[in-house]
């Protein structure tokens, strides 16, 4: 049997990015994937006869250009940015064009100017934060030269525009999105949109302190250098996973699917391979876990090797999803009131105010789903006709809030929540209910089962201030290394976090290749 320099657990985009970088760095890499096909959360699935969903994500908005270039990812379509349309039910749409509303239709010119001012401010501040995304989090205590460089560059970037910008940055960094939106905006629909974007995928409401971080995170993403841009690759989201696979195979990575790992072999604090669930032992000096940190340390590693204090800190990582994924099979293209035809291929956000988002969040705190949820929608089959039969159409929606730990339990909760969603859709697209061929709702519990994601959280752990940088996923395992020598983390649970960026995996691989020890 052939031996490998490194084993990567999990063939999600981060696992494949890590594997590819390692292979390009001259390592012999084996990727082990539990599912029968690679892709992780970008893995598509058929949800009704003739209808397919392209996976959890339905837009690309933060794929890192440097990562894509470095691992040789060929993903076309980034040149056309998709618009975001806000529908509040009045039939009067607000359309944000270009990269996160470089221009806006449907609001007064004063409001458009106010939004532009806010956008400029936040984009500038996000630009400062961005410097910290492409490298391991700075390790205070033992600050590396590179960290100094990053800090210095960030500092200079800050004061470039004068000290008042610097002061504003330190003031706003941990604010809630509601206060910022109120300071700049007056239009409820725009406020509702930024509130939604800031809180999508995290357990916070717009008025929760630090909720602005969610918006910053979105704005650290770019498409072809355009901050906050979003697109769907030509060929659709279904072409994302294959692209990562092609890049990996081209770099000589071996991918073995249908091979779940049962245990990570570690002896006296050093990892030296894995045992697959069927009992096969595969040894390698480097093991890279590109799956959820909690799965890694609570299921695959012997607690005796990692230590009880550490295990406790891993258990304490908050990783309960709040977003449900709805896939609808429709026999025709839905007609959303006020949605311009040329914006149909973009992102549609159903929200009427910031307060709606806040009120949608309240029940989630107590383990109840939102009676009046907010959601973002795309119509994937418009870009990728292969997802639906001729004349048909698919609708993909991310719906908030749907707490993983539903008090009433999701068996009873699911049909009730689905009904609410369809009602909501009906209000915005009258008649849509008649065109529904099939509906597939994935609650965080279903997402957990489908993608082996504890808590069904696509960030592999809350993306909140206390779980970032040196505390992601936990201080003793931040910066990709772990208490176990030779075992590294490379999933969204590691810095900088989730979304199709490739950064956690790529950073981890570079960290390993740099020869830095655990």
């Amino acid at each position: 049997m052939t031996s490998f320099d490194a084993i990567v657990i999990g063939a999600g985009h981060n696992g494949l990015a890590a594997a590819t970088r390692l292979a390009k760095g001259g390592r012999k890499v084996l990727v082990l994937e539990a599912a029968n096909e690679p892709g992780g959360a970008t893995r598509g699935r058929a949800f009704a006869p003739g209808f397919r969903s392209a996976g959890l994500a339905h837009l690309v908005n933060r794929l890192d250009a440097e990562v894509a270039r470095d691992i040789g990812l060929d993903l076309a379509g980034g040149e056309t940015l998709l618009p975001t349309t806000v529908l509040d039910g009045s039939g009067k749409a607000v359309v944000l064009k270009g990269a996160y509303g470089e221009s806006i239709d449907g609001v007064s010119s004063e409001e458009a100017a106010a939004f532009a001012a806010m956008r400029t401010k936040l984009a500038f501040q996000a630009g400062v934060l961005k410097r910290f995304l492409r490298r391991p989090p700075p390790q205070i205590g033992a600050i590396a030269l590179g960290d100094f460089a990053t800090f210095a560059a960030a500092g200079l970037g800050l004061i470039r525009k004068g000290r008042s910008e610097g002061r504003d940055f330190l003031r706003m960094l941990l604010m809630n999105v509601a206060d910022v939106a109120d300071e700049y905006l007056t239009d409820d629909r725009l406020k509702g949109l930024v509130a939604f974007d800031a809180t999508l995928g995290v357990h916070l409401g717009p008025r929760s302190p630090t909720s602005l971080l969610g918006l910053y995170y979105r704005l650290t993403g770019d498409v072809a250098g355009k901050t906050g841009g979003q697109y769907v690759p030509s060929g659709g989201m279904a072409s994302v996973a294959p692209a990562f696979v092609r890049a990996a195979e081209k770099a000589g990575v071996t991918i073995r699917c249908g091979t779940p790992v049962g245990r990570i072999l570690a002896d006296r604090g050093r990892a030296n391979g894995v045992v697959t669930r069927d009992g096969t032992e595969i040894t390698a000096p480097i093991v890279v876990s590109a799956i959820h940190p909690q799965t890694t340390f609570l299921n695959l590693v012997d607690p005796a090797e990692s230590g009880t204090g550490f295990v406790r800190s891993v258990k304490n990582v908050r990783s309960y999803g709040n977003v449900a994924k709805l896939d609808l099979a429709l026999d025709r293209i839905p007609d959303f009131q006020g949605l311009p035809t040329d914006a149909r291929n973009g992102r549609i956000v159903l929200v009427h105010s910031m307060q709606q988002v806040e009120r949608a969040f309240n029940p989630a705190k107590y383990g109840e789903f939102s009676p009046d949820p907010v959601m973002e929608i795309t119509l994937p089959s418009l870009t990728d006709p292969s997802l639906a039969p001729a004349g048909g159409c698919t609708l993909s929606a991310l719906v908030q809030y749907a707490p993983y730990r539903l008090k009433a339990g999701w068996e009873t909760g699911k049909p009730a929540f689905l009904k609410i969603m369809l009602e909501t859709l009906k209000r915005h697209a009258p008649g849509i209910e008649k065109s529904v061929v099939a509906a597939s709702l994935m609650t965080p519990v279903d997402i957990e089962a489908e993608y082996n994601l504890p808590g069904g959280h696509w960030h592999h752990g809350e993306l909140q201030a206390d779980q970032l940088l040196i505390n992601r996923p936990t201080s003793a395992a931040s910066g990709y290394r772990t208490p176990i020598e030779g075992l590294y983390l490379a999933s969204a649970g590691a810095h900088p976090g989730g979304g199709i960026s490739g950064l956690p995996g790529w950073n981890a691989a570079r960290h390993i290749l740099s020869g830095a020890t655990s």
């Binding site: 008042s164 002061r167 008025r207 302190p209 908050r318 705190k365 206390d466």
Partner: protein
């Protein structure tokens, strides 16, 4: 026309602290106070014959011991009596007691959960460690990271050095702690609802946040860093009510020649050519002074007392957006006998501490949801104390004064101003909650004072009735408090300073803002302060 070296607008505890330090350093200082008495939010008032009310702040812990020593407050009559414990009453008729003695406390926790009792050891250790982080910051002016002045840079380096003395793990823990919600933080240690509810209360008192809001772990710290007789985290009653604190300050001030003028509301702070020249009082009198120090909150000071034209536009913009957000109310009750709480054993020491009815974090958070919608909580969180159980000077024998702090209570009711009917309905909500745990409570009531944010603003002058003179959120702490670039007690107007809780380190009867303001003023005057302890310097 009289002229003073320095004039303090408002005789609250911080104003008096600044006044004392300045007078002791040789300035001729006048304190002008709009009310007929000094004290601001730290007062004892006889609102009904035979009963002294601590009608705003009601317990004492945060007041810096260095200041007590510097200003000889014990000599001037201040005595703080530490109280022994408290209780959270649960809906099932039981209660969770708290005791000053760590071991008794742990044993009580064990009555609910052995696991929690063990976790309490870790919890107490970890939180105390966090206190050691924050305490040195209290008595120092927050450095301005962007002034690039040598003094700020060296201060930043000093703090970096202090911070550097901690292990990377401790630093990571601190970053976590400062940004966490108290609810998430407690979930990492405890499993019992009532224990979490009991420990969470310090995370929300006075703030317009729920226990599930990030940043409330820090607010908890803000209430833990106090001490009584050197025992950190302990709380006590000022003998004679909270007015005793400010009375002692007033006596200390007058004993060194300071002047206090009450019933003297300031209507305008005078400026000429970017300098302050004094104030105009409501009665038209003009008082001259080259130095004016405002104890009023930043909103009142710069939006009501100073002409907007004399201030930079961006400064005014920031002050307008400085978050006040009153979140609490107060019901002060005179009782003709000690109320009974059947849940408690006869003569329990718990009656001599703070008592609560909120037995789960969810109830606390739901109370906050009401506030977000502009309503007072239907099921409010109460912090009740009966200081007369330890202090005989506040009511005649057998009679009692009960202070009842209520959260949440919005500055406006669903967007409109408070009416008397609202206030009475609010009071009824509170009284009925108490009565449901204490049979016959209503019958004991002799007199009652109900204070919503409206009353607090009208009497004390705290904008929106915010007891901290501004929210304690990250964007309003340290070098951001009250306005980035103006967080060192100076204002855009030469000679005009701030010394209230709107400035670092914020609210509570602490005195630190007043002391730090005095230090900055004396620095500008190139005077060495008399009898001012060094800035707190231990980590």
């Amino acid at each position: 026309m009289q002229k003073y070296d320095a004039l303090i607008v408002g005789g609250g505890h911080n104003g008096l602290v600044t006044a004392c330090y300045l007078q002791r350093s040789g300035l001729n200082v006048l304190v002008v106070e709009k009310n007929g008495w000094v004290g601001g939010a730290a007062t004892s008032r006889e609102l009904t014959p035979g009963f002294l009310y601590s009608n705003c702040s009601y317990v004492c812990s945060l007041f810096r011991p260095e200041i007590m020593r510097d200003l000889e407050l014990p000599k001037h009559g201040l005595q703080v009596i530490a109280y022994e414990g408290g209780a959270v009453f649960t809906r099932d008729g039981d209660y969770l007691a708290s005791y000053r003695d760590h071991d008794s406390h742990r044993r009580e926790f064990a009555r609910y959960s052995r696991r929690d009792a063990e976790a309490y050891e870790r919890y107490a250790r970890d939180v105390t460690r966090q206190c050691r982080f924050i305490q040195p910051l209290l008595m120092r002016t927050a450095p301005d990271p962007f002034s690039f002045r040598p003094r700020d840079i060296s201060e930043l380096l000093y703090l970096a050095k202090k911070f550097g003395e901690f292990s990377p793990h401790e630093m990571a823990e601190t970053l976590r702690f400062w940004t966490m919600s108290i609810s998430d933080y407690l979930d990492e240690y405890f499993e019992t609802d009532v224990i979490k509810a009991y420990l969470a209360l310090s995370g929300i008192i006075g703030t317009a946040l729920g226990p599930m809001s990030p940043g409330t772990a820090y607010v908890l710290l803000h209430h833990y860093m106090g001490e009584v007789d050197g025992s950190v985290g302990a709380w006590g009653y000022a003998r004679g009510g909270m007015g005793a604190v400010t009375q002692a300050l007033a006596r200390s001030f007058e004993s060194v020649g300071g002047t206090i003028r009450t019933d003297a509301e300031v209507s305008k702070i005078l400026t000429r050519g970017g300098r302050t020249t004094g104030v105009v009082l409501a009665n038209g009198d003009e008082v001259r002074a080259d130095l004016v120090v405002s104890n009023a909150d930043v909103n009142r000071t710069f939006l009501k007392l100073v002409d907007e034209e004399s201030l930079p536009g961006d400064f005014v913009h920031r002050v307008k957006h400085f978050k006040m957000r009153g979140s609490s109310g107060k019901v002060n009750i005179a009782l003709d006998s000690l109320p009974e709480f059947p849940a408690l054993p006869e003569g329990s020491s718990c009656m001599r501490g703070d008592m609560h009815f909120t037995d789960s974090i969810e109830r606390m958070e739901r109370a906050y949801d009401d506030w977000k919608d502009g309503r007072w909580s239907a099921d409010p969180f109460l912090d009740m104390v009966i200081p007369t159980t330890l202090d005989p000077t506040m009511a005649s024998p057998g009679k009692h004064f009960m202070s009842c702090f209520v959260q949440y209570c919005p500055p406006k009711v669903e967007g409109r101003d408070w009416t008397d009917a609202d206030r009475d309905a609010f009071a009824e909500t509170v009284i009925s909650q108490i009565a449901s745990y204490s049979p016959g409570f209503r019958e004991r009531i002799v007199h009652m004072e109900v204070r919503t944010p409206r009353e607090i603003e009208n009497e004390v002058g705290l904008t929106e009735g915010n007891i901290f003179q501004g929210e304690l959120t990250f964007d309003q702490l340290l070098f951001n408090r009250p306005v980035p670039g103006y967080a060192q007690y100076r204002s855009p107007i030469a000679g005009l300073y701030m010394c209230g809780s709107s400035t670092h380190p914020g609210g509570g009867v602490m005195g630190a803002p007043g002391r730090n303001a005095a230090a900055e003023i004396l620095r500008d005057l190139k005077r060495t302060p008399e009898q001012m302890s060094k800035a707190h310097d231990v980590i």
